[in-house]
């Protein structure tokens, strides 16, 4: 059963317009596939928010805490008096803290990105290779043939060069 | 096995609770200890792995006769330390003494008897002891006793006695003890002035003012460790800090340690001493009955004249004389280059005169006369001087020597090339060397019967000079012999046996001989009644030293008028004219190699020279101003040319040397003597003039003039030190205050906290 309608556009503006129309026609989640990040997507498909910044913040805080805990814990549990310094010596330990903050921040950001962008992809997904070159694709999930025809009509009407049916679950 | 049984031994180990165990018991099984991590997989009962055993014995690295304690572990010697009970070094030891371990474990030791194939350029082949001893004994039996020479290093104690017996048995009087650095002139001067055969004991420890005329008493003169102890105590150990003046053309170790270094013109030390004496007498600082005799004897040495001759300002002479007389007790010593000059004896007599004039004789802090030693030592006529060696060479050339036995001495290295000694040896049909190492002389031998090192042999020794009372020490083996070598005494006894000399020498081993000899010392002792000899002997082996703490009564010393009348000092005579040879060569004994014997020890090669930090080589010390004039820089290779040859070495710019003097250390420049010594540096003795001191025939080794020729090359001057100026960084800080006399030194910025417990 063909359950994905995909329209291929030459121009980004047309693709964007098509996506807007699909959304206006009540389709749940039209998606744009483009070779470059497209401007104006949010105006058409609604504002996007991501959890990445929370990941980054949380990672950084965790990193800072664990960095200091690592340095201080090591110093206190395995006492090696050096240079007459007190075992918990703030200036050097703050450097460790700083580095660990950033390291964990970076790793958490990556994790946040992967989770929120649902990568790496485990299953096959709707995709046209031309969309990585110079075509702009709009794809939408259709529950049945009637919906597909409707979506295809909208896409063609918006100036799609080609409309394909792709039998794959939209993510 | 020696005749201490196991039960005895265990008792002794038990008794030696301070770690000083007696006796020498080691199994035969450690001939090749390298093969085991712990030498005995199944250790003998009387031996515990991991526990150090200490043996007390005597250091033979120089003639001072320090007592040492050798720490052994698992049958191997690990460390040499001074024997705290020994009066000479009192637990302390010099670098060379420490390095004795590398004599024992030197990789270049001779390991078996060797016989030369063919002439003296041929190789050696290994032979057995039986073959070697028979060969020598056969030869000795077949020649006239007068044609047999035994040339030994200076040995004392029973070994010296054994040599006497042996040579007497052979009917030969040709027994010589030869050391390059034996102080002939000092003995002669003391004999002449005091009428003493022994050197006096120089009590540096209590001296408050010391005048040293060329004697490097902290580096190489007589007994450096003992002098070091005295120096340290005099400096900071007492109420008043001792003041040290060093008079020498090139600053030695002692010169650096001294408060004042006076670079008198080389060879004029005697004149300076008499100048001081003149000042003392003339200024009324001497009030003895024979003051007038002195006045007339010293009339020619007025301060002004002496100042001119010695290049020391008049006010310095006056100041030194006054201080020497007033700061009691004071002490004047002489030696080194001053003693080994054309008029060495006169110089040292003049120094003795100074001691007499200010009353330093027989008192603490001055010099004390030594009693005669309890154990024998060679008489002075047995001590070969330079002149004697020349005669020996002459005899060899004439074919008067049939057999020459050389024991651990290396005259080929320590005699100037101009003497032709090396070539003269060709006239001797059989040369037997008892050396442990392939030194230059041994390399010319026909037969080598290698001796044990001193750490493997029995023997005994007396320090010379003594320490003011009678003392003697026993040396015992600390490890079992490493190689197929024998103790020198055992070799001699072996030969005696073969020659049928058992009547005069009935002993089977050196140990037996030494032990028997010590029965006489036991017999002298106060405890003869309470302790039998075996107990005494064990105690001696434990302690390593015996002493009789009786000072000799120095009494009133009366000086013969003829001695006073004979006092005098001349301007030094040099070989080589002033015009052709502008510099005086000042060779000096390096405190690490002495006369070159330390050069095969890697620790000594690697020990930076204290004054220059140079390692592994020779150098020529030059005043920076002189170097500027000659256009020479540090490290430039120069040829030092004397009328008798030349040697090359790199230049070292040395601020502590007279501009008209250049100095070179003795000890390097070996052609043989193992991997560490061979072909390293150059030997200044080679180019010395064969000039003898007029009274004793000792080599006047500081009486040669030289010139310098730049080679245009740079030579590797391997130094451990970098820049030797402080640049105001306050690294070595000084104060002008003396201890205990109300100093005003500032406290350091951060107080050192002393926490009470």
């Amino acid at each position: 059963m063909a359950n994905n309608a995909l329209g291929l556009f030459h121009e980004p503006d047309a693709a964007l317009a098509a996506a807007g129309k699909l959304k206006g026609a009540g389709f749940a989640a039209p998606a744009l596939i483009s070779p470059i990040p497209m401007e104006g997507v949010e105006e058409v498909l609604g504002r996007k928010t991501s959890v990445i910044k929370r990941f980054t913040l949380f990672g950084a805080i965790l990193g800072g805490l664990s960095g200091f805990a690592l340095a201080a814990g090591t110093a206190v549990l395995y006492v090696h008096p050096t240079g007459g310094r007190p075992i918990i010596t703030f200036p050097p330990f703050l450097i460790i803290t700083y580095e660990m903050t950033i390291l964990f921040g970076i790793l958490a950001t990556v994790l946040g990105f992967l989770i929120s962008a649902r990568l790496p992809a485990i299953r096959e997904r709707v995709y046209v290779p031309d969309a990585a070159v110079d075509k702009f694709a709009v794809t939408v999930l259709c529950d049945n043939a009637e919906q597909f025809e409707r979506a295809a009509a909208i896409l063609r009407g918006a100036g799609a060069e080609d409309v394909q049916a792709i039998a794959e679950q939209h993510p | 096995m020696p005749d201490i049984d196991r039960r005895d031994f265990l008792k002794l180990v038990g008794a030696g609770s301070v770690g000083v165990a007696a006796g020498f018991v080691l199994a035969e099984s450690i001939k090749h200890p390298v093969e085991y991590l712990i030498p005995f997989p199944v250790p003998p009962e009387d031996y515990s792995p991991g526990i150090a055993t200490w043996y007390n014995t005597v250091c033979r690295m120089c003639a001072a006769g320090c007592g040492i304690s050798v720490r052994t572990r698992e049958g191997r010697a690990k460390k040499i330390e001074g024997n705290p009970a020994h009066p000479v070094n009192q637990g302390r030891l010099c670098a060379l003494g420490q390095a004795g371990l590398q004599v024992l474990y030197n990789p270049d030791r001779l390991t078996t008897p060797l016989l030369r194939d063919g002439d003296r350029t041929g190789p050696f082949t290994q032979i057995t002891w039986e073959e070697g001893l028979s060969a020598v004994a056969d030869r000795l039996a077949s020649v006239d006793g007068g044609r047999i020479y035994l040339l030994s290093e200076g040995v004392r104690g029973h070994l010296a006695g054994l040599f006497e017996l042996f040579m007497a048995g052979l009917g030969s009087n040709r027994l010589l003890h030869y050391d390059f650095d034996y102080p002939h002139t000092l003995y002669a001067a003391n004999k002449r002035f005091y009428g003493e055969n022994n050197l006096p004991y120089y009590d540096l420890r209590n001296a408050r003012y010391l005048l040293s005329f060329g004697a490097d008493y902290l580096g190489s003169w007589i007994s450096p460790v003992h002098h070091g102890l005295g120096f340290g105590h005099s400096r900071q150990g007492g109420e008043v800090r001792g003041y040290f003046v060093q008079i020498e053309p090139r600053m030695s170790l002692s010169g650096a340690a001294a408060d004042e270094w006076i670079a008198a013109s080389p060879g004029t030390e005697g004149l300076l001493a008499l100048g001081l004496a003149h000042h003392i007498v003339a200024e009324g600082l001497y009030e003895g009955d024979d003051r007038d005799d002195w006045m007339s004897a010293l009339a020619a040495y007025s301060t002004a004249r002496v100042a001119e001759q010695t290049d020391v300002p008049t006010n310095t002479i006056a100041r030194l004389a006054k201080a020497f007389a007033r700061n009691q007790p004071s002490l004047a010593i002489g030696g080194g280059a001053a003693g080994n000059h054309s008029g060495g004896v006169d110089t040292l007599v003049a120094v003795n005169a100074l001691n007499y004039l200010v009353g330093n004789l027989g008192k603490s802090g001055g010099l004390l006369f030594n009693p005669d030693p309890v154990v024998g030592r060679p008489t002075r006529s047995r001590r070969a001087s330079f002149q004697t060696m020349l005669e020996l060479a002459e005899d060899a050339r004439r074919g008067n020597i049939e057999v020459l036995i050389v024991n651990q001495t290396n005259p080929v290295f320590t005699l100037p090339a101009a003497t032709g000694f090396k070539e003269a040896l060709a006239g001797i049909p059989l040369i037997v060397s008892l050396s442990s190492f392939m030194d230059e002389t041994t390399a010319l031998a026909d037969l080598i019967l290698p001796s044990h090192t001193y750490l493997e042999s029995w023997g005994d020794d007396i320090p010379e000079p003594g320490v003011g009372f009678r003392t003697a020490s026993v040396s015992q083996p600390v490890v079992s012999p490493l190689y197929d070598t024998r103790a020198t005494g055992d070799i001699v006894l072996g030969l005696a046996q073969k020659l049928g000399l058992t009547d005069s020498m009935p002993w089977t081993s050196m140990k037996e001989y030494v032990e028997q000899g010590w029965r006489q010392i036991h017999a002298r002792g106060a405890d003869t009644e309470t302790r039998d000899f075996q107990a005494f002997w064990r105690a001696i082996l434990q302690a390593g030293v015996w002493g009789e703490k009786l000072r000799r009564d120095n009494g009133a010393f009366a000086l013969d008028k003829s001695v006073i009348d004979n006092i005098g000092a001349q301007q030094p005579e040099f070989s080589g004219s002033n015009d052709d040879f502008p510099f005086v060569l000042h060779p000096y004994l390096s405190n690490t190699f002495l006369d070159g014997r330390g050069a095969n020890l890697p620790w000594m090669q690697e020990l930076p020279d204290p004054m220059t930090s140079v390692v592994y080589g020779s150098w020529v010390e030059l005043n920076p101003a002189t170097a500027r004039q000659l256009g020479l820089a540090q490290g430039d290779l120069v040829r030092v040319e004397s009328p008798h040859g030349s040697v090359s070495a790199p230049v070292y710019l040395y601020p502590g040397i007279r501009p008209d003097v250049i100095a070179m250390p003795i000890g390097q420049g070996h052609a043989e003597y193992g991997r560490y010594a061979r072909n390293r540096g150059s030997n200044p003795i080679e180019i010395l003039a064969p000039r003898a001191e007029s009274h004793t025939g000792a080599l006047a080794w500081s009486a040669t003039r030289v010139k310098l020729a730049a080679t245009g090359k740079k030579a590797a001057l391997v130094q451990t030190g970098g820049t030797s100026r402080q640049l105001g960084r306050g690294i070595v800080q000084t104060t002008d205050a003396t201890a205990g006399s109300g100093h005003n030194a500032r406290l350091n910025s951060i107080p050192i906290k002393v926490v009470s417990t």
């Binding site: 991501s50 395995y78 050097p92 970076i106 990105f113 | -």
Partner: protein, 449 residues
């Protein structure tokens, strides 16, 4: 700029980049062969020898226990400093000219960091125990010493290495996807894995953009901290001429300076040998030239300041260190450094100079030689003149050290050569971003900037 070079279509970009990955001429193989050969002979075998012999194979001694290995380490760390740092700064400030060059600049960061980490291995007396400097739980209950500036280094560099690898990888995901579609065989499989199934949906683009910006924000202070920390290896010691507060900014500026010069070199090579003339243009050289000029002036200022503080201290130790640097044994190197890094870059005032490719290449070489000299001098002049004059000594690098230095360059080149065949060395999507959006009826699109 010359428009004819920039008449590009989106498809052209994809084609050009894929071509650079797939089509490999003999020239490439020869270059790679030479680089690997030099790496093996000059780096690998001498290092092997050094592992057997000990650090004594190098010329280090008392008191100069650090030598060219450490100088190389700082140099490579420094070289790493423009890539990612510059890329992040330009990303955040939205500078479009960055987009054609940032990928290779970031690769430079990555590889010079790797070479730097290798230099640490070479520098160590017992590199087989290098893992002891990492905090990992172990039976011996032995942990590293977190007070040590060297451990700061370990933490900072590993963070930086992780950060910049992630940064370059994140930026490359869409390009991997694009390349994935155009390749076959093992390359295809590799890119399938690397692209993580990227499709280019609006959500993915959005997430990527967010994450990328966060990373950039995190990496800028990281990069600054890395070279500050490297400087503290020296500045935290009490060695005269090293114990200075100016050291952190000095090192950071020096690092960016040498890194920017390094980018110029790499840009030139890519342009010339990978046929990216249409992407890397005079504009880039002009902008990089301006940046270099600015950095050179700051660098010169800090150098003057360093001399002044040394002189002003008036202590024997500082004055001697200064005297030795300016007039001592290594003085020719010092003046060479001044010539290359302070005087020569003044040519950049001229726009003609900035936009001439070959002179810029030579200048970039000169700057990096000068900067290497700077690192060498920091190690050699200070350590050979410390507190106790009796310990002063000279240090001259041995053949092994010089060889390893050459070999480390070869290592960098090798890594870079491998990189250009795996990573799209020009960012496909970001170059497209700088071009006009496609419009119907205009088959050719032109870049707007």
């Amino acid at each position: 700029m010359a428009a004819e070079h920039n008449e590009l279509t989106y498809a052209d970009v994809n084609r050009d980049v894929v071509r650079s990955l797939v089509e490999t001429g003999p020239k490439y193989y020869v270059t790679l062969g030479v680089a690997v050969g030099v790496f093996l002979t000059c780096f690998f075998f001498p290092w092997f020898y050094q592992l057997f012999y000990g650090i004594g194979a190098a010329g280090m001694n008392q008191p100069t226990v650090w030598g060219t290995y450490l100088a190389s380490f700082i140099f490579w760390i420094g070289l790493s400093h423009s890539g990612t740092l510059l890329s992040c700064v330009l990303h955040i400030t939205n500078s479009a000219w960055r987009k054609a060059m940032y990928r290779s600049a970031e690769a430079m960061t990555l590889f010079s960091l790797m070479v730097a980490a290798t230099m640490v291995m070479v520098h160590l007396g017992r590199p087989w125990f290098i893992h002891w400097s990492l905090p990992y739980p172990n039976q011996m209950e032995l942990w590293p010493n977190f007070r040590s500036p060297l451990l700061f280094d370990v933490m900072a560099i590993s963070t930086y290495l992780a950060g910049s690898s992630i940064f370059i990888y994140m930026g490359s995901i869409p390009d991997f996807a694009a390349v994935r579609d155009r390749t076959s065989g093992w390359r295809h499989h590799m890119y399938v894995l690397l692209s993580l199934g990227w499709r280019g949906t609006d959500t993915e683009w959005h997430r990527l953009g967010r994450a990328y910006t966060f990373l950039a924000v995190l990496i800028i202070p990281l990069a600054v901290s890395v070279h500050s920390i490297v400087s503290w290896d020296f500045a935290l010691s009490i060695v005269p001429a090293l114990h200075q507060t100016i050291f952190a900014p000095y090192f950071v500026v020096g690092a960016i300076y040498s890194g920017t010069a390094g980018i110029v070199t790499v840009m030139f090579m890519l342009r010339k040998y990978m046929n990216f003339e249409r992407y890397i243009t005079e504009l880039h050289f002009d902008n990089l030239g301006k940046l270099l000029l600015l950095l050179s002036l700051i660098w010169t200022y800090i150098n003057v300041l360093e001399i002044f503080t040394g002189w002003y201290s008036g202590t024997s130790t500082e004055l001697e260190a200064l005297r030795y640097k300016l007039f001592g044994f290594y003085a020719p190197l010092y003046w060479e450094m001044i010539l290359f890094c302070a005087v020569a870059p003044l040519l950049l005032i001229s726009r003609r100079f900035r936009t001439s490719f070959v002179p810029m290449l030579f200048l970039s070489f000169a700057i990096n030689i000068g900067m290497y000299t700077e690192r060498f001098l920091i190690v050699a002049t200070s350590l050979s003149r410390k507190y106790l004059p009796d310990t002063w000594g000279l240090y001259v690098p041995s053949l092994v050290e010089i060889s390893i230095l050459i070999g480390s360059v070869a290592m960098f080149v090798t890594l870079f050569l491998v990189f250009v065949k795996i990573f799209p060395s020009v960012s496909i999507y970001e170059v497209k971003e700088t071009m006009d959006v496609p419009r119907k009826g205009t088959p050719q699109w032109q870049t707007t900037r």
